[in-house]
């Protein structure tokens, strides 16, 4: 059987693109390809990953300019047809700016750029990105961001809750979700959400940085594996 192609979008300023390529390439039967932001060609990809970094230098707002790049026109259209799209960190910011996900990310509550391990737990394991996780199991996956403070108006948050669109929440080592375990001030400790159709996931933590034991954790690996099994 031919390898399944997975596209990793490269914006000017992306800096987790190679890490993400490395993580994807470690799965048998999956071939990652880099998709340049200026191209309209998805190169036959069956899923799209938007990596972390500082696309367009985070000018204006993180992700605001990347969403208008030529490749994003194709990604938005493909997502509308049901193509799986996973946005990590800056990729999550791009998904919010592009309207594929609801809400916005503002500066971290405590003003700091945070680069550290965090505990998160999947609270919806019925998505194509989380099917290999156990509900509420505690995962150690790092974050690295200055603007990860998820915000949405109360009615949007209520709608996300109602439709099970909150997928990951920040917690402590025992899975307890409190304000103290919230690194950046995100409403409801939200670390990741999915769209209503279930094919677009955005999250601030970096699963590619926790995709093999050598990195200190391989808890992020099953996120990719869950997705690739669906393709």
């Amino acid at each position: 059987m031919a390898d399944i192609t997975v596209g990793v979008v490269v914006f000017p300023g992306s800096n987790c693109d190679h890490d993400t390529m490395h993580a994807v390439a470690s799965f048998d039967g999956v071939k990652p390809v880099m998709l340049w932001h200026g191209s309209h060609d998805l190169q036959g990809a069956k899923a799209i990953l938007l990596p972390g970094g500082f696309s367009y230098g985070d000018y204006l707002r993180a992700g605001s300019i990347a969403r208008f790049s030529p490749i994003m026109k194709e990604v938005v259209e493909a997502a509308g047809r049901g193509m799986p799209v996973l946005g990590i960190c800056n990729g999550f910011q791009v998904l919010l700016e592009s309207g594929l996900l609801e809400g916005a990310l503002s500066k971290n509550r405590d003003k700091k750029f945070l680069c550290c391990d965090t505990f998160i737990k999947p609270v919806n394991c019925s998505t194509m990105f989380t099917s290999l996780y156990q509900q509420d199991e505690v995962l150690s996956i790092p974050i690295a961001h200055g603007e990860g403070n998820y915000f949405a108006p109360p009615e949007t948050v209520a709608s996300l809750l109602e439709h099970d669109q909150i997928v990951f929440r920040y917690c402590d080592a025992n899975g307890k979700v409190t304000d103290e375990t919230n690194p950046n001030g995100s409403v409801n400790n939200i670390a990741g959400i999915v769209n209503r159709a279930g094919n677009v996931l955005g999250l601030m933590p970096h699963p590619e940085r926790a995709s093999e034991k050598l990195l200190g954790s391989d808890d992020g690996r099953r996120m990719f594996e869950s997705l690739f099994r669906q393709l």
Binding site: L60, S64, A104, S106, K107, D110, K111, F151, A152
Partner: protein, 84 residues
């Protein structure tokens, strides 16, 4: 004829402005006890080559909503200044 759009983008009042808070604390530390609060926004100038003021306004609103501000957490306002 053209217009310079002088655009201001600010965080909504309900959004915590951490940069503004840092500046507020710095001003208080400098001894300006009468400082109540500080909020930080963005100022953007855009030259719009349009003869009609109404059309320049329409374009300005459109670019503010589409790119220059994020309506989920920001407000914008602008003034148009005629340039010859």
């Amino acid at each position: 004829m053209a217009y310079t759009a002088k655009i201001t983008v600010t965080l909504r009042q309900s959004i915590l402005d951490v940069q503004g808070k840092a500046v507020e604390h710095a001003l208080l530390n400098l001894g300006y006890g009468s400082v109540g609060s500080a909020r930080i926004g963005k100022y953007i100038e855009v030259l719009i080559n349009e003869v009609e003021r109404g059309e320049a306004e329409r374009i300005c609103n459109e670019i503010c909503l589409k790119l220059l501000s994020n309506p989920v957490m920001e407000n914008y306002s602008f003034e148009l200044e005629q340039v010859n």
